[in-house]
Amino acid sequence: MSATTHAHATGAAERGKVAIWWFLASEIMLFGGLISSFVISRLGGGAQVDHGHLNVTVAAVNTFILLSSSYTMVEAFGCAERGDRRAMRLFLGLTVLGGLAFLGLKAYEYTGEILHGFTPWAGTFWSFYYTMTGLHALHVLIGVIANATLCVAARLGLERPYRVEVAGLYWHFVDIVWIFLFPLVYLS
């Protein structure tokens, strides 16, 4: 039997969790392949980071938002486990807001860069930049949709705590990807 401390860790919950972890394993390989390509391209001198034209401030705010949304997500799961539906909806809503804010800021960043002529075809770094952050943003978008769906479902009384956990695992994974993208693209 599962050693988890959570209640409901049987049947559907167990299946959901095992499945999302297998899925995340392949996602690790997807982002891992892309990030590896970028790393070796950088170390080989192919993709030099264009520090002067990246908006580190916005990215730092975004990092803060995403880390915090990860926290609200796990808090939502904690509430779901305790059966505190109202609080769960609140935290899910906060997570969705965090995701939307992240996407909004990312769009602002993209707009600024493109207006300055730094398009995806402006050089190897920018190609990697848009591909990596774009793929990540797509994952954020999917997470936002999933969390919003759960939020609405909770309002209608359809929620199951394990679904919040499964969505949470995905959301934290997306957060971890950003944890690595942030220093890789903006800081180092």
């Binding site: 392949g33 192919g46 848009y130 793929l135």
Partner: protein, 571 residues
């Protein structure tokens, strides 16, 4: 581990459901398995037709191909590319992984359905969409993809190099959709195997096919990510104008090859392992004895799977990668012969002191073994870096991988289809046409592909449209003609199968629940199994999967299912 007993009863039988629910939006794993099988067979017709046009061009260059038309060099490249793509991704995987996996995983582990039936349906329809996109790529202006099934950039990265615009882009999209389909399918398979086994079915009692399907799914899940990343980058190169793989824009063509083969080698085992597993199910039944060394085979599978992640660069010995990488990869590649040799030896040893009945599934399974030995041994020539300098990119490679892949897809696949046809469709597959199909396939397959070793050694390179242009090859042109004529026989043999397949659906003898007196769980369900598979009570398992000819037992087989031994009849 939780058991299927807690499965919510959302899948009520829906016998009265209409056409739409029964066939199109079906969530029953058995229906989906049949859909995969039919799609795979349909695409096999497409792939076979492409191979016919290709081989005709090779035997009689630049003549009109009957039923196809003129094949010039451009069309030939498209044929080569799409034959490979169709056969590997849209025939082998749907049949061996999609169909066998969907049909057998719930039945063999005593579950009522897959873990996520609706996700399962989504996987299939994504694959169908992918197939449709691929077929559409044949007819768009500019022609179909023609950069080889490996799609090496820069050839594939810029439309100017091939003259193909949308064909290649659609080809890439078809792959992306196909990967998504099997990714979701793999998650489903693994979750089902991990969480839904019947009571008493410990991992040590799993049928070997389940081990092979699980390993294949894991290999796919863990290897496809980097290729998806590569495919996104290649699509960006083609559509947006980035330069990931274009040297003039600071890109690296070799990067694609690494990402591709990081996936490509495990992919070979994704196709091979289910076929190996199907054969492993067949041997004990028709030799009436346990499989030799169950644990050894499980370990061999796991070791081979793990090794498959560190051998990929053997496809790239002469690709221009750092030559110092070659020997380490050569050593790991040749090492992988050890677990496979172990598997082969155990399969042979499983026949020792058996009581072998050469019925059709057994014939196919034995032929699989023989062909796989041949293909495996020729692989050593290519795994050794120095001999690969000469043999890389020649027809020797073509012969080698047809011996491994066809042994898996055709021989292993048909072993499975002939063996489980009664369970799948409730009727027996005709034996007379079956015998004709088997012997003609065995003969014509070898006649088609064995001579290709020779012409490869003689220096004929792959993917050329006209062998007569080469002084070294032209004197051996008779081999090309011989191989093409044999291919026509091979194709005719498969026509016999299609005839048999459809005739037996309607005219076949009704199949009993357990026509082969086999022990694994699926044979305790009715043929074909109803929705939910097991009636009111889930089966419980009390012993290992291959208990044949147990000393002192009343009959020569003891079913895995608890309480089924006393029934012990053919019905």
């Amino acid at each position: 581990m939780s058991h299927a007993a807690t499965l919510p009863r959302v899948h009520e039988p829906h016998e009265a459901a209409g056409f739409f629910r029964t066939y199109l939006y079906a969530t029953d794993h058995k229906t989906i398995a049949k859909q995969y099988l039919l799609l795979g067979l349909l695409m096999a017709v497409v792939g076979g037709f492409l191979s016919y046009a290709m081989r005709w061009q090779l035997a009689w260059p630049d003549t009109e191909v009957p039923g196809f038309g003129f094949v010039g060099p451009e069309t030939y490249n498209a044929l080569v590319t799409n034959h490979g793509t169709v056969m590997v991704f849209f025939v082998a995987m749907p049949i061996l992984l999609g169909s066998f996996g969907n049909f057998l995983i719930p039945l063999m582990i005593g579950a009522r359905d897959m873990a996520f039936p609706r996700l399962n349906a989504l996987s299939f329809w994504l694959l169908a969409l992918g197939s449709a996109v691929l077929c559409a790529s044949f007819v768009v202006p500019g022609g179909a993809a023609s950069a080889g099934w490996t799609g090496y950039p820069p050839l594939s990265a810029k439309a100017e190099y091939t003259g193909v615009h949308w064909g290649l882009t659609l080809w890439l999209l078809a792959h992306a959709i196909e990967f998504a389909a099997f990714l979701l399918g793999g998650v489903n398979f693994l979750t089902t195997i991990v969480t839904m086994r019947a009571p008493g079915l410990t991992v040590g009692r799993l049928p070997l096919l389940i081990w092979q399907l699980a390993t294949a799914s894991i290999l796919f899940l863990l290897s496809v990510g980097p290729l998806i990343a590569g495919a996104v980058m290649l699509l960006m190169d083609r559509l947006v104008g980035t330069g990931f793989f274009l040297p003039e824009r600071g890109g690296e063509p070799l990067l694609w090859q690494h990402l591709f083969w990081f996936f490509g080698h495990p992919e070979v085992y994704v196709v091979l392992l289910p076929a190996l597993g199907a054969s492993l199910e067949v041997y004990p039944v028709f030799a009436r004895k346990p499989i030799f060394g169950y644990r050894l085979i499980v370990w061999a599978t796991i070791v081979a799977g793990a090794l498959s992640f560190i051998v990929w660069a053997h496809h790239m010995f002469v690709s221009g990668m750092d030559p110092r990488l070659a020997m380490p990869f050569s050593i790991t590649t040749i090492l992988i012969s050890v677990p496979f040799a172990l598997a082969v030896f155990t399969m042979i040893a499983s026949l020792y002191r058996g009581s072998i009945a050469l019925e059709l599934p057994m014939l196919w399974a034995l032929a699989f073994l023989a062909m796989f030995i041949t293909g495996g041994l020729t692989g050593i020539f290519l795994g050794s870096a120095p001999s690969d300098i000469y043999l890389n990119g020649t027809y020797f490679v073509v012969a080698h991988f047809h011996y491994t892949l066809i042994s898996a897809v055709i021989f292993g696949g048909f072993a499975g289809i002939y063996y489980w046809f009664p369970k799948m469709f409730g009727r027996m597959l005709g034996t007379r046409l079956g015998q004709l199909h088997f012997w003609s396939t065995l003969a014509f397959f070898n006649l088609t592909f064995f001579p290709l070793h020779w012409i490869g050694i003689a220096g004929m390179v792959r993917r050329i449209a006209n062998p007569l242009q080469y002084d070294l090859v032209a004197p051996h042109q008779w081999i090309n003609v011989f191989s093409t004529v044999s291919l026509l026989g091979l194709i005719a043999g498969q026509a016999v199968f299609f005839l048999n397949f459809f005739l037996s659906q309607f005219r076949g003898r009704p199949a009993p629940a357990n026509p082969w007196q086999a022990t694994t769980l699926e044979w305790t369900a009715p043929s074909p199994p109803p929705h939910g598979n097991w009636g009111a009570a889930l089966p419980a398992v009390e012993r290992g999967p291959y208990e044949y000819s147990v000393p002192g037992a009343a009959q020569d087989w003891l079913p895995q299912r608890a309480g089924a031994a006393v029934l012990g009849s053919r019905s």
